[in-house]
């Protein structure tokens, strides 16, 4: 399949797309404003993947490489929005409130994703990059053109806000009762 993609074979490209697009769309969905926005990011990301696939030289997992391209595509897309720069640079976001009734009551995985999406733009971007994608605050600072300390601060507040949402939605228990997520996480 990889060789086919390198040769610009449409069938191989379709196979790769079919295999990775559902996961990658959920990645884009966490960054985008809505599903349409996420699909635009996905499209742009996959075009980059196919154009640059020669640069992937079997170092590491293909999925990780594609995911990295997707995340960068999402960030670049967000950076085109002027409001984004303001939102990630806000250190104090005390005025941010989330309406509880906006949280969807569906399956847990989707609930978590939807809860992340409820966060303010700057918060959720930093949280996505740090907690889910695994970038360091230094890397996030470079990606978003902000100070490392700003990224750290944004993440702390984003985490607190998300915990609050998850607790109120009873997706995770209160910290007093249990250490919360530790009881639900599978440790490999």
């Amino acid at each position: 399949m990889l060789q086919g993609c390198i040769k610009n074979n449409a069938t191989a490209q379709q196979e790769l797309y079919l295999r990775y697009s559902p996961k990658m769309l959920s990645v884009c969905y966490r960054y985008g404003k809505n599903r349409e926005d996420a699909e635009d990011m996905l499209q742009e990301g996959f075009i980059k993947v196919f154009m640059q696939i020669r640069q992937f030289q079997n170092r590491g997992a293909l999925e990780g490489w594609i995911r990295k391209i997707m995340v960068h595509t999402c960030i670049n897309s967000l950076k085109k929005n002027k409001k984004f720069a303001e939102s990630v640079d806000i250190i104090y976001a005390n005025s941010m409130h989330v309406r509880e009734d906006a949280i969807p009551s569906i399956l847990q995985a989707k609930q978590v994703v939807e809860c992340i999406r409820l966060l303010p733009l700057g918060y959720k971007t930093v949280l996505n990059l740090y907690a889910i994608e695994g970038y360091s605050h230094k890397e996030i600072g470079e990606m978003l053109d902000i100070e490392e300390s700003t990224s750290r601060s944004q993440y702390t507040r984003a985490k607190a806000m998300l915990e609050d949402i998850l607790i109120r939605k009873r997706i995770i228990p209160l910290p007093k009762e249990k250490p919360g997520w530790l009881s639900t996480v599978k440790v490999n």
Partner: protein, 455 residues
Amino acid sequence: MERNYYTEGFENFLKEKTDEYKLYPSEKVWNNIQQSLHPRRKWPFITAALLLLGIGIGTKLAIDDWNLSPLTTIDNTNIPADKNHDLSGQAPENAVNSATSQQAAGSLSSTRIATIRPILGSNPPVMEKTERNPMSSLEMNPNINYNRAILDEQEKTDVINKRNFQVENATRPTAKVISLMNSNPVNNNGFEAGKENLISNKLNELLTEIVKVKKKTVWQLYFAPTVSYRKLIGQASKSNYSYNGILYSANLGYPSDVNDAVTHKPSLGFELGTAFIYPMSRSFRVKAGLQLNFHNYQVEAYNYIPEIASYGVGNYSQPINAVSYYRNFNGFSRTWLRNSHVMISVPLGFELKIVGNRKVSFNIASTIQPTYVINNQSYLVSTNLKNYAQEPSLYRKWNVNTGAEAFVAIKSGSIQWVIGPQFRYQLLSSYKDKYPIQEHLLDFGFKVGINKTLK
């Protein structure tokens, strides 16, 4: 990544949950990606459009050119009357000699008529009409009255009509007619002789013209709204198949014959074309042209999450896979997929007049049409008949169609209307041979066209 990600529980929890979450993109995302990576070439459309335009312009120019034939371009208003150029002295002989030599070089042009006319004066000689014999109009009257002889538009039309009549009934040898012309009594008067020679030359020229256009090519322009449909031939794959570790399921629990599994309905299309028709005899004509067809039909399907649609399973070692967003059965919601083809063809064939006369006739025609498919937007049913997807690599670009029609031809003024039903059948499958299901397109249409004789 300077951080040990998995040591932190909250982040681990978030990652695990977000990784579980999957979303399926809509079909347009892949279509846009594919379009971006493999842009469709637009030159076939441009070529086809230019070709049709070129033929149209060429035909128009050809018709205009023929309309400038000698007799039809005689126009007294465009030729300045010169009363000083009367028919006396040596001038007529010079003019006749000049005209004769030019005639030998080729057909008479309007310029040459303009050269001759001033010598004759503003009133050209008249050719008297007679109903006895079409050819008799060409005979000279030795007592031509130049003062009253003005060839008005009606007379010109009559002469042209007679010439056309002669074309269709030209059984009399030209040499005989010319001999007849030359046998006219010679007037001793030099002026009369010059006049007669001039007319004789013009008539000779006319007869040469008659011989030249005995078989006139007809240009045809036609349009036909069509009802498009298809005929499917093929069976579903019977056994499970594994390739590269992927299991391709067989058609278990579904109909085996493709015609039992597929629901489709016809849609409207059209045919637009132009042709040149050449008469081989009174009732048999051959034709060649250029034609554009838009073929269109709909297939019933059901929206579903993306699946692999596999083609060629069981017959070839490597199946062709495509992303399918539609199921043939048991999906979320019913939809109709539109399959369309745009084709350009070169119809080559014949027409046969069964019965009729010059005014009205009943004809049949048949053509064979080498065809190039400019655009194909088709959903193929997978080999196991479960899914629909687009797979351009299986589309056949070149094909052969055949056409049959019956029509009534009605003469109306200078054009002929052609009206009648037609049928078109695609001889080769729309898809390459490695796809086990054959599709033959059908079109039922009603043709309306006009024929214009190129004079």
